[in-house]
Amino acid sequence: MEALATPLRIVLAALVFLMIAVTEYPAGAQAQSVNPTKSAVSEAQLLQQSRTIRGLGSIPDTKSYTLEQPAGRDWRHFHEVTLRWIGGTAILGMLAVLVIFYLSRGMVRIEAGRSGRTIVRFNAFERFVHWMTAVCFVILALSGLNITFGRPLLLPLMRPESFTAFSEWAKYAHNYLSFPFTLGVVLIFLMWLGSNIPTRVDLEWLKRGGGMIGHDHPPAYRFNAGQKLIYWVVVLGGGAAAVSGYVLIFPFYGTTIETMQQAEMVHSIVAMLFIAAMLAHVYIGTIGMEGAFEAMGSGSVDLNWAKEHHSLWLEKEGVRSRSDPSQPQPTVAPGG
């Protein structure tokens, strides 16, 4: 019995193994026919669902879990084509308008000539804030334009290493000067807000074409409608440029690549229009109008200039200084 048991057990085991193999085979064949791609994620499908493909990774840098974001291609088109058109049109268009305007109209003179007597228009603090903001603006504008137009316009004129050295300094200047610039915009907003609320006088001023386009001198308080427009361009444009700029200066502080692309678009479009608007501001403040620069230069303007451009303001100031004997008394004809 003992001698027979071992071979019998082997045969039995072989039979059982065979049975299992035979019964299991169809199941195995079935498993092979299951298509593993059926439930697999597909790139085309994921890109249809969302603009980015995101998953999980095993390195600490969570922003690397974004596998793909083809939107970079759209942003590239904006940066390389759209923005250059917007910026080029706005800035060159404004320059052309100003040149044509200057050639046809020339400098707007003080009609009554200089009286030789002056009145304070902007105090030292106001002028300091203005020039701090202005100097920052010019550097920010030039270093910003370098990012958009430097490569096609400036790089061909210099060695790549020199252009890089210049652009790197421009980048640092752009980043750091944003702080005094923003401070300036905030101070401008606060210190001149009271005089820049649109009123009925502005409508009349605009209707008569103001001091530049029209040939007469509509009354205005401290700021006329054109100056109020510049004020709001600076406050709103500067504000938008500052906010979008800080989004970019602090990458991934609550932002994604997509929001940074959008911030860059807002920042650059606002900046281009801002630069164009400021060209007009600089024009009127310098060669466009006699006696205007002094307001921000020495801070005092000629009485006849004030009479022609800011009659209502002069009246008010005249009343105030008459009641204050320490101030020099400007002689103002009633009714401006």
Binding site: P36, A40, V41, E43, L67
Partner: protein, 198 residues
């Protein structure tokens, strides 16, 4: 000339991160910078796939197009390289890149970026091939030695393929035909504007 490409066969990737490690070691990539990473999609769900991703060395590369200082150049092999001497660390290539490839060392205050770093397809930079200066800035130049990128060489399942685009495409197509499925060449449509028919 060959047109160098990467192809990650996601149906083979086992998310072992050997490609990531090989890359970091080969080029002595500093802390906080990863030229290559593995992203797992639908983690833990049926149909989960992992994809190893780095710079894809795009055709008509968007980084090269938007760079304000023209730091990028494309080699005759189709490899997109850049010069760290020219880069100003502005971050524009990162906005434009569809694959999140550019990396920046964190220097100075706020989000100040240092010189950009990214996958070089193991092809170094503008310095002389194999020079110390090249190694310090960009890592090893294996291509100049006739070798392919180490990430793909190191891949245990041969999921990550690197080399002549036509050859790796052929290898992938053969695999798909043989096993009967394939989730496609990830990123190819975005990077090269073509897909591998499978």
């Amino acid at each position: 000339m060959a047109r160098m490409k990467f192809l990650c066969d996601a149906d083979r990737c086992i998310e072992c991160n050997a490609c990531v490690t090989a890359c970091k070691n080969e080029h002595e990539v500093p802390w906080g910078i990863n030229r290559r990473r593995v992203v797992t999609l639908d983690d833990g769900k049926p149909g989960e796939r992992s994809v190893s991703m780095a710079c894809m060395h795009c055709t008509d590369a968007p980084c090269q197009a938007v760079c304000p200082v023209n730091a990028f150049y494309t080699t005759a092999d189709g490899v997109v390289l850049h010069s760290k001497d020219i880069c100003i660390g502005c971050g524009y290539c990162f906005y434009a890149c569809p694959f999140g490839a550019p990396q920046y060392p964190h220097v100075g205050n706020f989000g100040s970026r240092g010189k950009m770093d990214k996958c070089t397809f193991c092809a170094g930079g503008p310095e002389p091939d194999g020079s110390i200066a090249e190694y310090e800035k960009y890592g090893a130049n294996r291509l100049a030695e006739g070798k392919l990128p180490l990430c793909a060489e190191m891949c245990a399942t041969k999921s990550l393929l690197a080399g002549d685009g036509e050859i790796i495409e052929e290898i992938y197509k053969e695999r798909v035909a043989k096993r009967g499925y394939g989730s496609g060449a990830w990123g190819w449509k975005t990077a090269y504007r073509e897909t591998v028919s499978s």
